[in-house]
């Protein structure tokens, strides 16, 4: 099962857009076979830092192998799909 974690910075415009973009991708390509955790780095900054997150928004694909990281508001859907290993 696809496990994803999205790091956002509260209500920052790019973070809000990333959530929306990811939701759309999930809805169209993943149906229900995924697990998504959203972490607000404003609330858990040290955890995010420990996770190696630097800039936001930051999407991490935790499983299955291989792991992947996507940085940005996820507006470029094609690159997100490639990174997550989803074929259109």
């Amino acid at each position: 099962m696809l496990k994803l974690r999205l790091y956002v910075a509260g209500g920052a415009p790019n973070s809000v857009r990333a959530i929306a973009n990811l939701a759309a991708i999930c809805k169209e390509h993943l149906h229900s076979a995924f697990k998504l955790e959203i972490i607000d780095v404003l609330k858990f900054p040290l955890r995010a830092l420990a996770d190696g997150v630097l800039v936001t928004p930051h999407l991490a694909k935790l499983s299955p192998f291989p792991a992947a990281k996507v940085v940005g508001n996820l507006s470029d859907r094609a690159s997100v799909l490639t990174a997550l290993g989803i074929s259109e």
């Binding site: 910075a9 857009r17 900054p45 040290l46 992947a68 990281k69 940085v71």
Partner: protein, 569 residues
């Protein structure tokens, strides 16, 4: 602006020289931009500021690295005596902020999350300092000049809100010029290759609300980190000692009017092979014999060969090296820039604390990139050594035999107190060394040329004969000396002869006096005898006359007295 009512609070960086240039360091709670090309020393500058803040003022610092990994940075700093790993536990925190190359980019991102995380880290650590090292690396990932500017302003606002003293480093090639307008202070670092040697330069181009020294200054890297060479102070303050110390051997001291002044500088110029090193070695050995700590710096020649070569002319370094009085340092000039040599010598002087010092040959640093740099280093070295009250012997090779060509090279002859020139005099198939004292400040010195002879017991100065306006050396001098010796012998023989003659005639006279004296004595005796005889004769004559008269029965009155003969007349 020095007279401002409220001077900008500044923090010393601990970078030698920089705090003087910036009149106190970097602005507190403000941002400084360090810009410069790759390898210009931005990271070292930033890290050194942080290390100094941690060590000197017990501050805490965050180092956010966008370009290099923490491991790389720590490894690069291992050459400095910062003991980074000890500080890294709780005082100095590195944040690896590199975006891995495998990270996929999709749309715009921003630094609001990062700054939130850094704030949490800063609060956890209690940091008052932050470094953003290589911010340009992150900014270029935004692929949008407007976004870059927006994020830079986001950082600035964050720094102001958090009252951080910050350093931002960036490779700038005109892309991020706008950053200069939002920071308080801009420091330009540059690395250039001149004559095959890389030279570092630093320049403060902006310092809001503060005075600073404008202009480019040489930068060097020593054991304690970066060092900026401030310009020489306009005022020269050297103690002028009247104490005389030996320049190495007595004859030279005599020529110098009694030796060198303590704390003075002596320049020895000459062609290769004119025994500059020997002279310097003799000076060093004499210093060691007086029990003074001595530093012998040689360029482009190892300590071992120097010790061996000097031993062949009776100058013994080994016992002094063993006792620790003598410290030798050899360097290859072309390996590092002239500035770096100066830094190295500075730290050596600090460690060795010499009273006497030799730099052989100083002219070699001209090879260490750029004549102007070498000149500056040469004069700064002399001033530095004089400031420390060290008596120094500096040798310099000059290309021609004209001593003034040296002056056009490193231009140290004007700074040096004493200038000894060694040259070759070639005549009658011989090459002989000649020593001349060109100048010696504040003291009488011989104006005569002397021949320098290297014997097994060290250098010796011999008188030079001038015959018909020409100086005689080597064999000619020896011949002249021989001739002089011959003349002396002849004169002595003549004198002896004359004396003997006089002695003989004196003895003769004395003998004659003696003979005459004995004559005199005899004559006196004779005279005495003659007188008494006559008396006796006169008496007896009278007696006989009386007797005769008595016998004849003559008139008694007529016979009374000796006038008998008169009456008969």
């Amino acid at each position: 602006m020095a007279g401002m009512a409220n001077p900008l609070p500044k923090i010393a960086t601990g970078i030698g020289g920089f705090d003087e240039l910036s009149r106190g360091g970097l602005p507190r709670h403000q941002t400084t931009l360090l810009k410069g090309g790759p390898g210009s020393g931005k990271t070292v500058f930033a890290l050194q500021c942080l290390v100094n803040a941690v060590r000197e003022r017990r501050e805490r610092g965050l180092f956010v690295a966008f370009e290099e990994s923490t491991r790389q940075i720590v490894a690069n700093a291992a050459g400095f005596d910062w003991r980074l790993s000890a500080l890294m536990k709780r005082k100095l925190c590195f944040v690896d902020a590199r975006l891995a190359p495998e990270v996929v980019h999709s749309g715009e991102f921003d630094l609001s999350g990062m700054l939130a995380m850094l704030k949490a880290k800063k609060d956890e650590l209690g940091a008052s300092w932050i470094v953003f090292d290589g911010i340009d690396v992150l900014l270029t990932l935004l692929h949008d000049p407007a976004a870059e500017m927006r994020e830079i302003y986001r950082i600035r606002d964050w720094l102001v809100a958090n009252q951080m003293s910050a350093l931002i480093t960036a490779k700038t090639n005109g892309d991020y010029d706008f950053m200069q307008f939002m920071v308080h202070c801009v420091v330009d670092l540059a690395r250039r290759i001149e004559h095959g040697v890389s030279l570092h330069r630093l320049q403060i181009t902006k310092y809001r609300g503060s005075d600073f020294m404008a202009g480019e200054f040489p930068v060097s890297f020593g054991p304690s980190g970066m060092e900026v060479a401030p310009p020489e102070p306009a005022e020269i303050r050297h103690q002028a000692s009247t104490e005389r110390i030996s320049a190495g051997f007595q004859r030279l001291d005599t020529m110098l009017g009694g030796g060198l002044f303590r704390g003075s500088s002596t320049l020895i110029t000459g062609l290769p092979g004119t025994s500059k090193t020997t002279l310097a070695g003799k000076f060093a050995e004499a210093a060691c014999r007086r029990g003074e700590r001595t530093l012998f710096v040689s360029f482009d020649e190892g300590a071992e060969p120097i010790v061996r070569n000097l031993a062949s002319v009776g100058i013994q370094f080994r016992p002094h090296l063993k006792s620790g009085l003598l410290h030798m340092y050899s360097a290859r000039t072309e390996s590092i820039g002239a500035e770096d040599h100066l830094v190295k010598l500075k730290s050596l002087i600090r460690d060795v604390r010499p009273r006497c010092m030799v730099v052989d040959p100083l002219s070699a640093i001209a090879k260490a990139g750029g004549l102007s740099a070498a000149r500056a280093v040469a004069s700064r070295l002399i001033y530095m050594v004089k400031d420390a009250g060290i008596t120094v012997f500096i040798t310099a090779i000059n290309e021609g035999d004209d001593p003034s060509t040296e002056a056009t090279d490193l231009q140290v002859s004007t700074i040096a107190d004493t200038w000894i020139h060694l040259s070759y005099v070639i005549r009658s198939g011989e090459r002989n060394r000649a020593l001349t004292i060109i100048k010696s400040r504040g003291t009488w010195h011989s104006n005569q040329v002397r021949e320098l002879i290297l014997g097994a017991s060290g250098p010796v100065l011999a008188d030079v004969y001038s015959a018909g306006g020409e100086v005689l050396m080597g064999t000619l001098r020896w011949e002249k000396e021989d001739e002089e010796r011959g003349k002396t012998l002849q004169r002595r023989a003549e004198f002896d002869h004359k004396r003997r003659e006089l002695q003989v005639s004196e003895a003769d006279t004395r003998a004659r006096i003696k003979a005459m004296e004995s004559d005199l004595a005899r004559q006196r005796t004779e005279l005495a005898l003659y007188s008494s005889d006559n008396e006796a004769r006169i008496v007896s004559t009278t007696e006989r006359e009386k007797e005769l008269h008595r016998i004849r029965g003559g008139d008694a009155a007529k016979a009374n007295g000796s006038n008998g003969s008169r009456s008969s007349r």
